[in-house]
Every structure is written in structure tokens, then in C-alpha cells.
């Protein structure tokens, strides 16, 4: 806490007078309804206070295990008049260390403000009269959600557990998959007000030293008041914040994180969000679903090919439609051209306007579906399907081939395993359509080239974005376009980022 925010009547020093200490705490926690003070008296007649935040600590632990034991055991052997605070403290310390079966972390704080911070993080503090120290005991008991299946990354076959908001649970979800001392988790606290705990996790030996150092450096650089979600961190550590492409991978799945740790990547777990960041993020990594590795490899390969196709079609399908129907009639097979032409006959708008209107309507529908509560969302989709799909075509305002194109684009964009990458392609579709409308295929090609140049120049934590396609790695490519057989992958070394360093 910055000194200028201190209440005036707080000295910031602990002394042996319990009441004075208590007053200081009360001044700091003024108007904090969730702070609780519980006074008690030891057998010796010594006064004591417990300070804790309700809802943050496990009250059972306070009642049953610690306090009772502490109060009872520590005071029976003490003489009735223990004025000497040093002796008392010593006694207490001795008792706690040797006699009590505490599993919790226990701290002796000489500093007032550090004990305030401990209380805020969910410890409870024990103050005794005549003791110039504060004993803080970790008994965090936050209410958390159960471990559920991740909503954004469901699988047919594979583990169903997903991260949740508590960092300690999330860490344990990773640890239980990697029971090795090689798995490191380094804690950092970020956010002047939120004091958010962040764990940098990696597999020692698998992740490159440079990468780990770079991640620590970038996280250490962060100066911010509040961290509410992983995106706050993502924006502050990514290489190019002007790019539409996500440069870190974000996932809710522990198995995905573990798989990436094994490949030599670094995970960043953030408290209070179920999303874990994995760096470096590469393009093809974001096109992979953990399920690819849980299905038979031939089928998984076919699905990967389908996914690549969907990447192309989600980006290009509407713009190709515009370019072909307005500039390159000769490229459409005659019979197809005739059927497109005949359904376009009554449409009063040029193809671009038609496509843009439909795309915007579709995106709006999609956004509405995400935000609305589920029962209402269904109503929206019915309205969307009926109004846009049926009525617009029947009224001759929109041609039916375009509706097909837009829905195929929509389906293709749902195939992205990474929602972030899908968003990038959804956005890029619009400039692509405008390029197609102004320059035809030439425009599409130019924009594609620009896009490719940008993607090739992108880097994420020192790894080129298009790894392993460019720079080309023969060993890794078999697991990019298709999913290689396990037997083949056994020979594969650690992540290419490590080789290069």
C-alpha cells in the first residue's frame, strides 16, 4: 500500500499493546464490512484477537484445528503471568513448530503492512496482547466452482476437466498430469490493486532457457493496476499488438497446456480466470485441437485437412463469390453461372452490397446468440434463419446462392479450434470482400500476399509465427498438415524454438 493512501492515525508499527495494534487494523480496514475481528481470552487472562476476511478463509479450519489447539496447548504450560512478550512469542513459536500438527503455512510478521497484505490475501491473523508480532496462518477457503467441462473447447473423446477460476486448482490440474520435479511453477504477483497471482509454468529441460527468460522479463515489465482476465496479460506481453492474429494461445484445457509444455512451451496461469496462456503461439498450433491426438491418426489427419480447407473458405468464400460474379464470369461453369444468374436476376443490389449485408447480418446474429441467455438465443436464431434465409430470398432481395455461400462460410468459421484465430479470420473477411469488389481476383491475391507477408514476419517470443512451414522443418511438418502416427512422432525432438536458440 502506498504511504499516501494511509489513514492518518496509523503509525504502521506494531507494538506490544494489543489495543493499539487492533486500532491500527481497524483504521486500515475502515468500512470493510467483510473483515471480522474475533476476540478471545486465554486461560492466562491474556487478550487476543483473530482478524480475517469472511469468505476468504476456511472458518472450519479456524474453529476446529488451529485456534482451539493453539489456545489450549500454548497456554497450559505457560505461567500465569507472562509479561515478557519475547518469552511469550518464543513459547508460541516453539509450540507451533513442535507441537501442533499444522499443515498450513505460518508466518511471523514484524511489519504491520505485510500482515495487512496477508490478511487481504486470505490468511488469518492472530494478535496477542504483549506480542509485537502478528502471526498469520494460511487457511484460504475460497468458494470455487466445481471442475467442469470447458465450455469453449469440448471434445468427444478426451479428458473432460477444465480450468476454473482458482489458481491453486488450476496448478494442481497441470501437476496431476506431470508428476515430475521438472515441472516448474514460478509465482509472480501483478496488479497494484488486484494483486493477482500469476504462475509461470514450464518443463525444465524442454523449454528453452531464452524463452523462459523472455517470458519472465515481459511479465516483470508489466505495470498495471488491475488484471481481470488473461487478455490483460496477453496484450501486455504479445509481440505485435497491431496484428489481427492472436500471438499467444489461450485455452481452458489442462491437457492442451500439458501437451504444449511437453513441446517446450511456457504456460502462464492467471488467478481468477479459467483461461491459461501458452507462449509462443504459432499459427498451426492454433489450428490443432487436442482431440486430434485422441482420435485415430488417419481420421485425425482427414479432420486436419478439412480444417485447413475451412480456414481458406472462411476467409475467401464470399470474396471469391463477389470476384467471380462481377469480374470473372468465364471462370464459372456455364450451368452454374446460369443458375446463379437466374437467381440474381431480381436482386436489386450489386453482389458486394448483397454479400456485405448478409455477412453483417450473420455476424450480428452470431454475436446476439453468444450474449443472449439461452432461451432467447434460440428465438434469435429462428428469426435469423426465417427472416434472412427464407424471406429475403423469397422476396428477391438476396439471391439464394449467396445465402449458401454465407452459410458455408459460417460453417467453415465454426471449425476453428481456436476462437481467437477464428475471430481474426472473421474480421479479415471484410477487407477481403472489399478488395474483391474493387479489383476482382487480382485484389484478393494482393491482399492475400500482404496477409502472408505479415504472417511470415510475425514472431511470438522469438518463434516465427508460421513455424514449421516457414522456416520449414521437415520433421515437424508431418504433424501440421496431417496428424502423424505416434510411432513417427516418438523421434521428434523438442519444439523447434529450442533448436534454434
Amino acid at each position: 500500500m502506498a504511504p499516501n493512501q494511509q489513514p492518518d492515525n496509523v503509525a504502521g508499527m506494531l507494538n506490544e499493546n494489543l489495543n493499539e495494534n487492533l486500532k491500527q487494523f481497524q483504521a486500515v480496514f475502515k468500512n470493510c464490512a467483510d473483515i471480522h475481528y474475533r476476540q478471545f481470552e486465554l486461560k492466562t487472562g491474556q487478550q487476543g484477537v483473530l482478524i480475517y476476511l469472511s469468505g476468504m478463509v476456511d472458518t472450519d479450519a479456524i474453529d476446529l484445528d488451529m485456534t482451539r489447539q493453539l489456545i489450549e496447548s500454548c497456554m497450559t504450560e505457560n505461567s500465569t503471568s507472562a509479561e515478557d512478550s519475547a518469552r511469550l512469542t518464543e513459547n508460541l513459536q516453539h509450540t507451533i513448530q513442535s507441537k501442533l500438527g499444522f499443515t498450513s503455512q505460518v508466518n511471523w510478521n514484524d511489519d504491520f503492512y505485510s500482515s495487512v497484505e496477508q490478511i487481504l490475501s486470505g490468511d488469518y491473523a492472530l494478535l496477542l496482547d504483549g506480542m509485537a508480532q502478528v502471526l498469520t496462518i494460511n487457511a484460504k477457503g475460497l468458494e470455487t466452482r466445481a471442475i467442469e467441462e470447458p465450455a469453449t473447447e469440448a471434445v468427444i473423446r478426451g479428458p473432460r476437466d477444465g480450468f476454473q477460476e482458482s489458481i491453486s486448482t488450476n496448478m494442481s490440474l497441470i501437476r496431476r498430469r506431470l508428476m515430475t520435479a521438472q515441472l516448474k511453477m514460478e509465482m509472480v504477483t501483478i496488479g497494484r490493486l488486484t494483486k493477482t497471482e500469476i504462475a509461470i509454468t514450464y518443463l525444465e529441460g524442454n523449454a528453452g532457457e531464452d524463452l523462459i527468460a523472455e517470458v519472465k522479463k515481459r511479465i516483470g515489465r508489466i505495470q498495471i493496476d488491475a488484471i481481470l482476465e488473461s487478455c490483460n496479460i496477453e496484450e501486455l506481453i504479445e509481440d505485435n499488438s497491431l496484428s489481427p492474429f492472436p500471438q499467444v494461445m489461450v485455452t481452458e484445457r489442462p491437457d492442451k497446456v500439458v501437451g504444449n509444455l511437453l513441446e517446450g512451451r511456457v504456460g502462464i496461469i492467471i488467478d481468477n480466470t479459467p483461461f491459461v496462456i501458452v507462449v509462443p503461439g504459432t499459427f498451426f498450433q492454433m489450428l490443432q485441437s487436442p482431440e486430434d491426438y485422441y482420435q485415430r491418426y488417419i481420421i485425425a489427419s482427414a479432420i486436419r485437412l478439412l480444417r485447413l480447407l475451412s480456414v481458406v473458405s472462411s476467409l475467401l468464400l464470399p470474396s471469391l463469390y463477389i470476384a467471380l460474379t462481377t469480374y470473372h464470369h468465364e471462370m464459372i461453369p456455364t450451368m452454374l453461372l446460369i443458375s446463379i444468374a437466374s437467381s440474381r436476376e431480381t436482386v436489386p443490389f450489386p453482389a458486394v452490397v448483397e454479400a456485405l449485408v448478409m455477412e453483417v447480418a450473420f455476424e450480428g446474429l452470431r454475436e446476439a446468440g453468444v450474449r443472449l441467455p439461452r432461451p432467447v438465443g434460440q428465438a434469435v436464431s429462428i428469426v435469423g434463419a426465417l427472416v434472412i434465409g427464407q424471406a429475403a430470398v423469397a422476396a428477391g432481395i438476396v439471391s439464394s446462392p449467396l445465402v449458401i455461400v454465407i452459410s458455408m462460410t459460417g460453417i467453415a468459421s465454426f471449425l476453428f479450434p481456436s476462437f481467437q484465430l477464428g475471430l481474426a479470420f472473421r474480421l479479415l473477411r471484410f477487407p477481403m470482400m472489399i478488395a474483391a469488389a474493387t479489383f476482382g481476383l487480382y485484389g484478393i491475391l494482393m491482399l492475400l500476399l500482404f496477409m502472408l507477408l505479415h504472417m511470415l514476419s510475425l514472431q511470438s517470443f522469438g518463434t516465427p509465427y508460421m513455424t514449421p512451414l516457414a522456416p520449414f522443418s521437415r520433421g515437424a511438418i508431418k504433424d501440421v498438415i496431417t496428424r502423424a502416427n505416434r510411432r513417427l512422432m516418438l523421434k521428434q525432438g523438442p519444439h523447434p524454438s529450442k533448436d534454434r536458440s
Binding site: T326, H329, T334, S342, R344, P350
Partner: protein, 399 residues
């Protein structure tokens, strides 16, 4: 800060100033599906375009067959194709595009006068396709376009399908030009006519039902049509060029008791190799053909079970093929004096030096003098579901 902003603005504005100049919405094009070229009086050309009325096509698919024709025939006369085409364009509110023109039909009068002047337009025009089929017809090409389609939405599609099946040698515009330019082969064109679908032409009751059919081939000398070949001879051309897809042949055979029966086979494969030989002044071509077919009809008394009978049929078929080939080659040599098979190119490949030195310049004179020998091997590799004909009793069969 100001400068880059202005620059960016200028860039964005310039983006909207350029582009779009070749943009034509689908609602503003008139799709040409077929072109007919005829000779008009005063040495003029008559260009007829079959243009799709797009709004009609929807009616057909939705209402299950409208009575009205989905195409519009527009024709105009002019000194050149371009001239006529420009006049046509002025008659039509939409922009005429040639990129889906699949068929070019040429009337025989124009074909006899020479195709070169018209070929130039189609090879120069960026929209015109090399793979449009080129056909000739006896009479006016325009009439062909007018024929109502029976199966497809427009006739051009029907013609194209028929050409694609390659019942007779199909020629695309590109093929024709290539053959025209190559020495030692003369171009040909499929002959397309309107035919009554059932029976004789003078059958009054079926007058309305007509279809388009490929009936033969037009034989060219350079770019001029010089004559027609009937279906049977045109098929031989297909065999000799190794381009046969499917064909059939019927021969009659005498039974032992003097009566005759017929044998029909479907030809499934015809593999021809032609080997040239120069012997002094004489140029000889040895044609070797390997044909396979399946027996489809047999009204003779021959028992197919017996291998010697099969051999006998095969021999008769071989004779027949040989006869047909000889007759066709003789027609080309004597009647047309046009090397439609491309014996010249075959000679060129084998005797490069001789060809370049002597024959290439006077192949027109040399071609009628060539000698051709034919050797045919016919193999029947199937007799259908039954072995012996059901027409005859077991005892009647010749074993």
C-alpha cells in the same frame, strides 16, 4: 503526425478512384451460348447469336417446363464478325459476353468459301474459348440455333453433350486451328443436322419432333469445306486417329444351309498404329489395328460355345473392318484429296529429313499417290448373358 495522416487519406481515396472499371454484374450480361456463322449476299457475313434469357431459366426449373424458349436468337449481317456483333450489341440492353459460347456452327456456304476470316475473330477475342466446338451444317447455321432443345435448357448444351460423347470425331475450335496450321493433316468438322426423331422425314404426323444429331463429317482442304463424309466413314476416321470411345458394327454371315444371319458387336477398343515406309518414289503406310468388342446380337446358327465359330466371326469382322478402312482411305485419296487422318504428320515423325526436304511442300500432290495396307486383329472378349442364340434348337446349331 499530420503528414502520414494525409498520406493515408490520399491512399484510401485513391483506392476508391481506381478499380471496378471492368466490373459487370451478373444482372447486366447477356450470355452467348452458341454462335452461328453464315454467308450472306454481297460477300457479307451473317452472325447469329443464341443468347440466354436468364429469367426464363428459372421459370423452367421451378414451374416444371415453361412453353417459352429460354433463348433468344439475334442475327445481323456485316462485313466482319466484329461489325455484326457491334450491331447486335446495340439491339440488346445487356453486355454480350462470349466466354460461355460453347458451340460455333458454320453454314456450308461459308465453310466452302473458307473459314480463315472468321477464325481470326475467335482466336483474337479474349472472351472466346478455344474449347468451343466447331461444327458445320448443310444449310444455314442459324436454323440449327433455332431448333428447340429436348432435354437441356438450351440447344448449345445439347450439342456440346453430343460432341463430348464423341460418337463421331469432335473438333474444338482450338483443334481445328491447330490442324489447319500443321502440315500433313487437314482439319475436319462434325456435321450437325436437324433430324426428325422418329422415322422418315416425310412422315407428317411426327413432323414437330426434331432433334439435333451428328450425322457425319465435313472434310476440309485447308480452310475450305470440300465435301461430306457419311457416318460410317467418319467412324473409320475415329478408329484411325485412336479416338474411338464407343461404336458398333454389324456383319452378315452365311449359315451352312444357305440362309443368312447377322452378328452385331459393340466395339470397346480400337488401337491403331500406322507405320510409314518410303520405298523409292513410293510411300507406303502399314495400318495395324487391334480391336476388341463384345458380341451383342447373333442371329446366325453358329454356336458361340465353339471356339472355331468365334474365330470365324472374328475373321469376318476383321474382313469388314479392313474393307471399311480401305474404302475410307480411298475416298480421302481419290474423292477429296485431303489428308484428314494425318498420314503426312506420321510420315513427318518417322522421316523427318525427307519430309522437310521434299514432301512437306508438295504433300497435296503426294497424298493421293500413297499406298496403304491394312492388317486387322479383332478379338471378341464377351458374348453377353447367353451363349447360344435362343432362336434355334440345339440340333439346328452349327457346331
Amino acid at each position: 503526425m499530420r503528414k502520414p495522416l494525409i498520406l493515408l487519406l490520399a491512399l484510401i481515396i485513391s483506392l476508391f478512384l481506381t478499380g471496378c472499371w471492368s466490373r459487370v454484374e451478373l444482372n447486366d450480361v447477356a450470355i452467348v451460348t452458341a454462335t452461328a456463322l453464315d454467308r450472306a449476299e454481297n460477300n457479307k457475313l451473317q452472325v447469329s447469336l443464341q443468347i440466354l434469357k436468364v429469367k426464363m431459366t428459372k421459370g423452367i426449373s421451378e414451374k416444371g417446363g415453361g412453353g417459352e424458349n429460354a433463348t433468344l436468337i439475334v442475327s445481323e449481317k456485316g462485313e466482319t464478325i466484329m461489325e455484326a456483333y457491334q450491331v447486335i450489341q446495340k439491339k440488346i440492353p445487356r453486355m454480350v459476353i462470349f466466354s460461355h459460347n460453347r458451340v460455333i456452327v458454320v453454314g456450308d456456304q461459308l465453310a466452302r468459301a473458307g473459314l480463315s476470316p472468321v477464325l481470326d475473330f475467335f482466336s483474337r477475342h479474349r472472351e472466346a474459348r478455344g474449347n468451343s466446338y466447331l461444327l458445320v451444317t448443310k444449310g444455314e447455321g442459324k436454323e440449327i440455333l433455332k431448333a428447340p432443345p429436348n432435354f437441356e435448357i438450351f440447344t448449345a448444351e445439347e450439342i456440346r453433350e453430343e460432341e463430348k460423347a464423341r460418337y463421331l470425331d469432335s473438333v474444338t475450335f482450338r483443334d481445328f486451328v491447330f490442324r489447319l496450321l500443321e502440315k500433313g493433316i487437314e482439319p475436319i468438322c462434325t456435321q450437325l443436322q436437324i433430324v426428325p426423331l422418329s422415322g422418315q422425314k416425310n412422315d407428317a404426323s411426327d413432323k414437330k419432333e426434331t432433334g439435333l444429331a451428328v450425322v457425319g463429317a465435313g472434310i476440309f482442304h485447308h480452310d475450305k469445306l470440300i465435301g461430306w463424309m457419311k457416318r460410317q466413314d467418319s467412324e473409320v476416321l475415329l478408329w484411325l486417329k485412336n479416338r474411338m470411345k464407343r461404336s458398333s458394327m454389324t456383319v452378315s454371315m452365311q449359315n451352312k444351309d444357305g440362309s443368312t444371319g447377322k452378328v452385331s458387336v459393340q466395339l470397346s477398343k480400337a488401337k491403331t498404329s500406322i507405320r510409314p515406309r518410303i520405298q523409292g518414289e513410293k510411300i507406303q503406310f502399314d495400318i495395324t489395328m487391334h480391336m476388341t468388342g463384345e458380341l451383342f446380337e447373333n442371329t446366325t446358327k453358329l454356336s458361340i460355345k465353339e471356339i472355331q465359330n468365334l474365330n470365324k466371326i472374328q475373321q469376318v469382322l476383321e474382313q469388314e473392318v479392313k474393307k471399311r478402312v480401305t474404302s475410307t482411305v480411298n475416298k480421302l485419296k481419290k474423292q477429296f484429296k485431303s489428308d484428314a487422318v494425318g498420314f503426312g504428320t506420321i510420315l513427318h515423325r518417322k522421316y523427318k529429313k525427307e519430309w522437310n526436304e521434299t514432301y512437306s511442300k508438295r504433300w497435296d500432290q503426294e497424298f493421293p499417290k500413297i499406298e496403304v495396307t491394312t492388317d486387322v486383329q479383332f478379338k471378341i472378349n464377351g458374348t453377353g448373358r447367353v451363349n447360344d442364340s435362343t432362336l434355334w434348337e440345339e440340333e439346328q446349331l452349327e457346331k
